[in-house]
C-alpha cells in the first residue's frame, strides 16, 4: 500500500507542477492604451479648423482617428496623398512620402505632429508620415460611394466619395484622353447629365489612365469630390470606375458633327433657294465641319441656302435644347437660326412658318475659333414635327463665310 501511495503522490505532484507552469502569459513590451478620449473624428477636426481657418499642429501624442481609405495612390492620379472617410465625413491626408495603402484599408492615423489646414479649399490633414503616423487595422473594408447628381453637388461635399449615374462626357470632349500622358500635364474634362448640368473631372498626367481615351457613351462614374478655390473638381480613382458604355442621353435626338463628310446623313437636308453657293463639308484643323460662303474669289453672288434638320418629335420631351459651334468672318448678313413646326420636310422652306432662335453667334470677325452657341431653349416647341434650320443669305455685294459644327439637339 505504501508503495502505491507514493506512486500516486508522485504522479499527482508531477502533473500538478506542470499544470501550474503551463499557460504562462507571454511577455509583452510596454504599449500605450488608447482610451475613448484619445479618439477624435474628422468632423470634429474640420469644425475646429473652420471655426478660425487657422492651421494648427496637434501635440497630443495619442490622439487618433480611425478612417477608411477611399482613394489611394496606386493608379497615380494622386501622389503622396490619400482620401479617407470616417463615419463623420471625409478628409484629404497629405503624406510626407508615398505609401502602399489601398482603397478599403482601415487605418488608425495618429495625429501627433500633423497639421490641420486646407489647400485651396480642400480640408487636409497635412504632414502625415505613412510609416510613423499610420497603422493599418484591416483591409478590404471598402466604403460604397454615395449616389449623387450634378445638380446637388456643392463645395460642401468636398472630399466625399460619390457615384453619379447617367452622365456622359460632353460631345466636344470626345476623342480626347483623360489627361496629357505625353507631357504629363493635368487636364479638365467636362461631364454633363441629361439635364444639361455639367462639372469637370480633373486628371493628373501621371495617372495610369491619363492616356486612355474618354468613353463616348452614357453611364456612371465613381469619383471623389474635390475643390480648387471656387471650382468643383471630380477625381477619378480608376478608369474601371468610369462605366459609360450605354446610349447617350435619350433626349439627345440629333448630333451632326460632319465627321462623315456628308451633308445629308442623319436626315439633314440642304435646300438651295437662290444662287449656287451652298453648304459644304470642309476640314479644318483635323475636324470636319460645314462651311458656306458666297464669295467666288473675285466677287460675291446672291445666295440663299438652308441647312435643315430632319423632322424631330419633341412631343415626349420635357425640355429640349439646341447647341452648336460656329464662327464667321467678313461682312454681310448674319446667319439665321430658325425653328418651324409646320415645315413638310421638302420643298421651299419659305412656305413654312419659321421663328428665330436666340443662339449666340460668333461676333469676332478676326478669328476662325469656333464658339459655342450656348444651350438654346426649345421648350416652347415640344411637338411632333419640329425642324431647325440654319439660313444663310448673301447678296451680290457682300456675304459672310460661316462655319458650323457639332450641332446637338437634345430632347
Amino acid at each position: 500500500m505504501r508503495k502505491l501511495k507514493f506512486q500516486y503522490l508522485f504522479l499527482v505532484g508531477a502533473v500538478a507542477a506542470l499544470a501550474w507552469s503551463c499557460n504562462k502569459e507571454l511577455d509583452q513590451p510596454p504599449v500605450s492604451q488608447l482610451h475613448d478620449s484619445d479618439v477624435t473624428t474628422i468632423d470634429s477636426l474640420r469644425s475646429q479648423y473652420y471655426s478660425t481657418t487657422t492651421p494648427f499642429i496637434i501635440e497630443d501624442s495619442l490622439l487618433s482617428i480611425y478612417v477608411t481609405v477611399t482613394m489611394d495612390e496606386v493608379e497615380g492620379n494622386i501622389y503622396k496623398n490619400l482620401y479617407v472617410q470616417d463615419a463623420t465625413g471625409p478628409a484629404n491626408i497629405r503624406l510626407t512620402s508615398s505609401s502602399d495603402y489601398k482603397v478599403g484599408d482601415s487605418l488608425r492615423i495618429s495625429l501627433f505632429g500633423v497639421e490641420i489646414s486646407d489647400y485651396n479649399g480642400v480640408f487636409q490633414i497635412n504632414n502625415v508620415d505613412p510609416d510613423k503616423n499610420i497603422v493599418k487595422q484591416a483591409s478590404g473594408k471598402e466604403i460604397l460611394p454615395t449616389p449623387m447628381s450634378f445638380a446637388h453637388i456643392s463645395a460642401a461635399d468636398e472630399g466625399k466619395l460619390i457615384i453619379i449615374e447617367n452622365v456622359q462626357f460632353t460631345y466636344d470632349q470626345l476623342g480626347n484622353t483623360y489627361a496629357d500622358a505625353i507631357t504629363q500635364s493635368s487636364e479638365n474634362r467636362y461631364l454633363e447629365d441629361c439635364e444639361g448640368n455639367s462639372l469637370y473631372i480633373r486628371t493628373s498626367g501621371f495617372a495610369d489612365f491619363a492616356g486612355t481615351e474618354l468613353p463616348s457613351g452614357n453611364g456612371s462614374i465613381t469619383c471623389i469630390v474635390s475643390v480648387f478655390g471656387s471650382d468643383i473638381q471630380l477625381l477619378v480613382r480608376s478608369e474601371s470606375e468610369v462605366n459609360m458604355s450605354g446610349a447617350r442621353c435619350p433626349g439627345q435626338l440629333v448630333v451632326k458633327d460632319f465627321e462623315d463628310n456628308s451633308m445629308t446623313s442623319g436626315g439633314w437636308s440642304v435646300v438651295q433657294v437662290t444662287g449656287t453657293d451652298t453648304w459644304e463639308t470642309g476640314s479644318f484643323g483635323g475636324s470636319v465641319l460645314t462651311v458656306i460662303s458666297n464669295y467666288d474669289g473675285s466677287t460675291n453672288n446672291a445666295c440663299e441656302s438652308w441647312l435643315i434638320s430632319p423632322s424631330l418629335d419633341l412631343s415626349n420631351s420635357t425640355g429640349s435644347t439646341l447647341s452648336f459651334m460656329n464662327t464667321q468672318r467678313y461682312g454681310g448678313d448674319d446667319l439665321e437660326v430658325l425653328i418651324s413646326t409646320d415645315y413638310t420636310g421638302t420643298g421651299d422652306p419659305n412656305g413654312a412658318t419659321w421663328n428665330a432662335l436666340p443662339a449666340t453667334l460668333d461676333t469676332d470677325g478676326s478669328s476662325w475659333d469656333l464658339v459655342p452657341s450656348g444651350l438654346v431653349d426649345l421648350s416652347g416647341y415640344l411637338v411632333a414635327n419640329v425642324h431647325i434650320a440654319f439660313k444663310y443669305t448673301g447678296t451680290d455685294s457682300d456675304g459672310k463665310t460661316w462655319e458650323l459644327d457639332d450641332i446637338i439637339i437634345t430632347g
Binding site: 511577455d27 510609416d131 497603422v135 487595422q137 484591416a138
Partner: protein
C-alpha cells in the same frame, strides 16, 4: 514605407551564419542517431552478445539508454522531428572517446562529423541521456556518450555491411576487422567506410564521405595496457537550404533547395552544382594507458590530438545583384507588396522553370569573363597594376580549422562499498578562421576589399581587409577576408563518489574547472587598426559543478531515484567574441552561466514490464546568445547579442514497455515538456565591418516565450513482434505537438512596437509567437509519422547474416513542419512580408542494411 522593414533591417541571406552550422550538425546527428539507434531494436544473435557485454553493477545503470524505451524511442522515432530530450541542445551533453571529451570548445557543440560513418565503432557507445554518475568525466546535464575505441573492445572477426538508403546518402559500405586480444598481447582493429550520394533526398544535395578507424592495443602485462586509435572521416556534402513557404509553393516542393543550379560543362553536358558544400576532415588520434594498480585501483590516462580542415563554401559577389533565387527581391511577393505587378509577373515566370528558381552558374561564369579591371597598386606595391577579369561572383570557403589536444587521467578505486573516481582533464584548442578562394568561376582575380567600406569611408585603407597587404589580388586557393585564431583552454578536476547504504545507492560529484580564451588576429583590418591584429587579452573563468543522486530500491522491482546538479558554466568564445572576424571585441559583460537541474524518477522493472516516469526541472540562467547575419544594405555581417538569457526546461517523461503474449510486445512513450525563455534579456547589435553599434541594451520582452524548433510534446505507440527464428518486426506511430517558431528577439522590444497602441493588430502580430502545425482540418495537424522496422538473422556455418530494414514516415506525410525560425528582418506593419523559414519532415524514407559477419 520601405524604411519600416529596416526597423532593424536585418536580413539573413547567409541565414543564421552560425545557426545554420548547428543546423547541419543537428542533421548529421539525426542521420547518425537513426543509425546508431537501429541496433536497439535488434533481437538477433548479435543483440544477445551485446547484452552480455553491456551493463553495469551500479543501479543508476537502470537508466541506461539502450535499455530505456524512452531514450530509444526518442533516438529512433522522434529524432526525425528534431525532438531533443528535455529540450537540450548538444552542448548539454558530452561525447567522449575513451573517456576524453570531444566537443568544439569554441561553441560547446558536439562534433559527430569527426567520426561520421564509423558506425561499427560508435554504435555500442555507452550512453546516458540525462544526469547520472559518470565514470570518466563530470559530463553534462544532458548525459554523455562514451565511445570505447580500444582495439580489444571490438568484436573479433570480420564484419562487412552494405546499406541502401534515400536519406542524406544512398549507399554505405563498411568493413571492419578485429583480431581481439591475441595471445601475444596485441589486439588490432580496423574499420573503413564509404558513404555516397550523387543526390540525396533533397534535390541538389550530395554526399561523398570516407571514414577510417585503426586501433592497436598492447597488453603489456596484467596491469598495463597501451592503446592507440585513430579515427577520421574526410567528408564533402552538398547542403540543403531552409526556405520560406512562398518558395516551397512556387517550386511545388516542400524540400526545395536554393543552394544548387545547373552548370554547363565544356562538352555541353549540364551538371547540378551545389554552392554550399561542407568539407571537413578532422582526424582524431588518441593514446591511452590503462593501469590496473590493484584489484580495486585503476588509473586510466589518455592523450588525444585532433586537427584538420573544416570549411563551408558559399557564394559571394562584388558589384552584382544577389543571385540567390530565394533572396526576397527575387520573389513575387516582394513586388506584389509594393504594387509592382509587372515585376511580380517576371519573378513568377522565373520561378516557373527549374533554371529560373535555381542558381545560374553559367551566368556567373559569363559575367566573370566580361569584367576587365585594372587594379592599381596591387598587393600594396606602388605602381603594380594587375589587369584582368575581376570576379563578380565567387565561391569562397569559410574555414574553421581546428587543432585540439587533450590530456586526461582518471584514478578510480574502491574502499569497501564506496567507489571513488578522481580525474584531471586538460584541453587546449585552436580554431583558425579564415576564408579561402574556392573557385573564381572563370575570373582572373578577386580583390580583398570590403565592398561597403569602399563606399563609406574616405580613408582608402578602411576598405582593406588586410591593411598590411592592401589591394590584395586573390586567386584560387588564396586566403582572404578574415584570418584569426581563437584559443580555448580548459583544466578540470573531477571527483566522484558512489556508494550503497541499505536499500539506497548514492553518488555525488564535484568538478572544478578553469577556462581561458583569447583571440589572435592574423590580419590588421583597415577599419580596426588598433584591435584587429595580434593577441588579445585573455578572458578567464573559474567554474564549479556539483551533482548528486540517490536511488531507493523499494522492492527489487520498483525504484525511486532523484538526481540534482548545480553548476556554473563559462560563456563560449563563439558567443563572447561579438565580431571575431574583424576584431577583438567581446560582449561587454562576460559572465558565467548558472545552471541547476533535478529530476525525480519512478521505475518498475519486471521481466515482462518495464516502466519509467520522470519529472525534471532545469534552469539555465544568464546565457550569452549571439547570432550573426548577413545584412544586404550594409554588405556586412551584423551581430546580434543578447545577454542574460534564462531558460526553463521542465516536463514529464514516461515510457512503458511490456510483453503482451509470446513474442509480441508493446510500448508507449510520452514526452510532455515545457521549454521557455525565462527572463527579459538585453540585446545589443553591432555591425561587423564598422565600429557602429546599431543598438545597445535594448530590453527584450521574452519571458515565457517557447523555445522553438523542436516539439515540446511527443508521444509514440509501438508494437513489436520477435519471432523464434531470429527475426523481428515492429511498427511505431508517433505524434508531435507544441512546436513553435523560435522567436526573433528584436520583434519583442518596445522599439519594434513603438508606433502602436495595444488595440492595433500589428501589436500582437509583431510580438505573438507562432505555433506550427495548427491546421485543425488535418489529421493530427499533420504532426505525425509512422515508422516500420524489421530484421532477420541467419547463421550459415560460421557466417552470420543480418538483414535490417527500417522505413520512416511510411504514410509519406509531407506536410509536417518540424521546425523553423523567424527571419531577423521584419516589417511590423506587415509581419507576413518577411515570413519565417521552415523545414518539413522528409517523406517516406528507408534504410536497408545487410551485414555479414564471420
Amino acid at each position: 514605407m520601405l524604411n519600416t522593414y529596416l526597423r532593424l533591417g536585418l536580413i539573413a541571406p547567409f541565414f543564421f551564419a552560425f545557426n545554420s552550422h548547428s543546423q547541419v550538425e543537428r542533421n548529421e546527428e539525426v542521420d547518425d542517431s537513426l543509425e546508431t539507434n537501429t541496433p536497439v531494436f535488434i533481437t538477433s544473435l548479435e543483440d544477445l552478445d551485446n547484452n552480455n557485454t553491456a551493463g553495469s553493477n551500479n543501479s543508476s545503470g537502470l537508466l541506461q539508454a539502450s535499455r530505456d524505451v524512452y531514450a530509444a524511442t526518442a533516438g529512433f522515432n522522434f529524432s526525425a522531428a528534431r525532438f531533443r530530450i528535455r529540450g537540450y541542445q548538444s552542448d548539454m551533453s558530452v561525447n567522449m572517446i575513451n573517456g576524453m571529451p570531444m566537443y568544439d570548445m569554441e561553441s560547446g557543440w558536439a562534433q559527430w562529423y569527426k567520426w561520421g560513418g564509423l558506425n561499427d565503432v560508435t554504435r555500442y557507445s555507452e550512453t546516458k541521456a540525462w544526469l547520472s554518475s559518470n565514470p570518466y568525466h563530470f559530463g553534462g546535464i544532458g548525459g554523455y556518450a562514451n565511445i570505447d575505441a580500444r582495439a580489444s573492445a571490438r568484436r573479433e572477426g570480420t564484419r562487412i555491411s552494405y546499406a541502401l538508403t534515400n536519406r542524406a546518402y544512398n549507399h554505405r559500405l563498411m568493413a571492419s576487422y578485429a583480431t581481439g586480444m591475441q595471445s601475444n598481447g596485441w589486439a588490432f582493429a580496423f574499420t573503413v567506410s564509404g558513404r555516397y550520394a550523387y543526390e540525396g533526398y533533397v534535390e541538389g544535395t550530395s554526399y561523398e564521405a570516407f571514414s577510417y578507424y585503426a586501433a592497436a592495443e598492447k597488453k603489456v602485462n596484467d596491469q598495463h595496457s597501451l592503446n592507440f586509435a585513430v579515427l577520421g572521416a574526410p567528408t564533402t556534402r552538398g547542403r540543403a537550404s531552409i526556405s520560406i513557404q512562398e518558395a516551397y509553393d512556387l517550386a511545388g516542393n516542400n524540400y526545395y533547395n536554393s543552394n544548387w543550379g545547373y552548370q554547363t560543362l565544356a562538352d555541353g553536358t549540364r551538371i547540378k552544382r551545389n554552392a554550399r558544400l561542407q568539407k571537413s576532415h578532422l582526424p582524431v588520434l588518441i593514446f591511452n594507458h590503462d593501469y590496473k594498480i590493484s584489484k580495486d585501483k585503476k588509473l586510466s590516462t589518455g592523450v588525444s590530438f585532433s586537427f584538420g580542415s573544416n570549411g563551408k563554401t558559399a557564394l559571394n559577389w562584388y558589384d552584382a545583384a544577389d543571385p540567390r533565387p530565394d533572396y526576397y527581391k527575387n520573389l513575387p511577393s516582394y513586388y506584389y507588396g509594393i504594387n509592382d505587378v509587372a515585376n511580380a509577373a517576371v519573378a513568377e515566370n522565373n520561378w516557373a522553370s527549374v533554371d529560373g528558381r535555381q542558381l545560374n552558374w553559367d551566368q556567373f561564369y559569363f559575367a566573370n569573363t566580361k569584367n576587365t579591371f585594372a587594379q592599381e597598386n596591387a598587393n600594396g606595391i606602388i605602381g603594380n597594376t594587375v589587369t584582368g577579369n575581376r570576379a563578380k561572383y565567387i565561391v569562397e570557403n569559410q574555414r574553421n580549422n581546428q587543432m585540439v589536444g587533450g590530456l586526461n587521467s582518471v584514478f578510480s578505486h574502491t574502499i569497501g562499498n564506496i567507489n571513488l573516481t578522481h580525474g584531471i582533464i586538460y584541453q587546449l584548442q585552436r580554431n583558425h578562421s579564415f576564408k579561402t578562394m574556392d573557385d573564381l568561376l572563370g575570373a582572373d582575380f578577386w580583390v580583398d576589399v570590403d565592398q561597403f567600406a569602399e563606399q563609406d569611408f574616405l580613408d582608402p585603407n578602411a576598405a582593406q581587409n588586410d591593411v598590411d597587404t592592401p589591394n590584395k589580388i586573390i586567386e584560387n586557393g588564396d586566403v582572404f577576408g578574415w584570418n584569426y585564431y581563437i584559443f580555448n583552454s580548459k583544466t578540470e578536476l573531477f571527483n566522484q563518489a558512489e556508494f550503497s547504504l541499505g536499500k539506497f545507492d548514492f553518488y555525488g560529484a564535484l568538478n572544478l574547472s578553469h577556462k581561458a580564451f583569447w583571440r589572435e588576429g592574423l590580419y590588421r583590418n583597415g577599419r580596426f587598426l588598433d584591435n584587429s591584429f595580434g593577441k588579445s587579452d585573455v578572458n578567464l573563468f573559474f567554474n564549479y559543478a556539483v551533482k548528486a543522486g540517490a536511488t531507493y530500491n523499494i522492492s527489487g522491482r520498483q525504484f525511486v531515484s532523484v538526481n540534482g546538479a548545480v553548476m556554473t558554466q563559462a560563456p563560449f568564445s563563439r558567443s563572447a567574441y561579438v565580431s571575431a572576424r574583424t576584431r577583438d571585441f567581446t560582449a561587454p559583460n562576460l559572465e558565467n552561466e548558472f545552471i541547476y537541474t533535478g529530476d525525480v524518477n519512478y521505475l518498475i522493472r519486471y521481466p515482462k514490464l518495464k516502466m519509467r516516469l520522470t519529472y525534471y526541472y532545469t534552469e539555465r540562467k544568464n546565457v550569452l546568445w549571439s547570432r550573426s547575419f548577413y545584412h544586404d544594405e550594409y554588405r556586412s555581417f551584423v551581430n546580434y547579442v543578447m545577454e542574460g538569457v534564462d531558460y526553463l526546461n521542465h516536463g514529464l517523461e514516461f515510457g512503458i514497455d511490456g510483453n503482451i503474449y509470446g513474442g509480441l510486445s508493446a510500448n508507449a512513450v510520452v514526452a510532455f515538456g515545457e521549454y521557455i525563455y525565462n527572463s527579459r534579456p538585453t540585446a545589443s547589435i553591432y555591425r561587423d565591418n564598422s565600429a557602429e553599434v546599431i543598438a545597445r541594451d535594448k530590453v527584450i520582452y521574452l519571458q515565457n516565450f517557447k523555445v522553438g524548433g523542436m516539439p515540446q510534446t511527443a508521444a509514440s505507440l509501438g508494437l513489436k513482434y520477435s519471432g523464434k527464428k531470429y527475426w523481428f518486426a515492429g511498427v511505431n506511430f508517433n505524434y508531435f505537438g507544441d512546436i513553435y517558431l523560435d522567436p526573433n528577439p528584436d520583434r519583442r522590444t518596445e522599439e519594434a512596437v513603438a508606433n502602436y497602441v495595444e488595440s492595433d493588430p500589428q501589436y500582437q502580430e509583431t510580438i505573438a509567437q507562432t505555433q506550427l502545425n495548427t491546421d485543425q482540418d488535418a489529421f493530427l495537424n499533420n504532426a505525425y509519422n509512422v515508422s516500420l522496422f524489421a530484421g532477420k538473422s541467419f547463421k550459415i556455418s560460421n557466417y552470420f547474416l543480418n538483414i535490417n530494414v527500417n522505413i520512416n514516415n511510411l504514410t509519406n506525410n509531407r506536410r509536417f513542419v518540424t521546425g523553423g525560425f523567424e527571419q531577423l528582418r521584419y516589417d511590423s506593419q506587415d509581419i507576413n512580408r518577411f515570413p519565417p523559414r521552415v523545414g518539413y519532415l522528409y517523406g517516406l524514407n528507408y534504410f536497408v542494411m545487410a551485414t555479414l559477419r564471420f
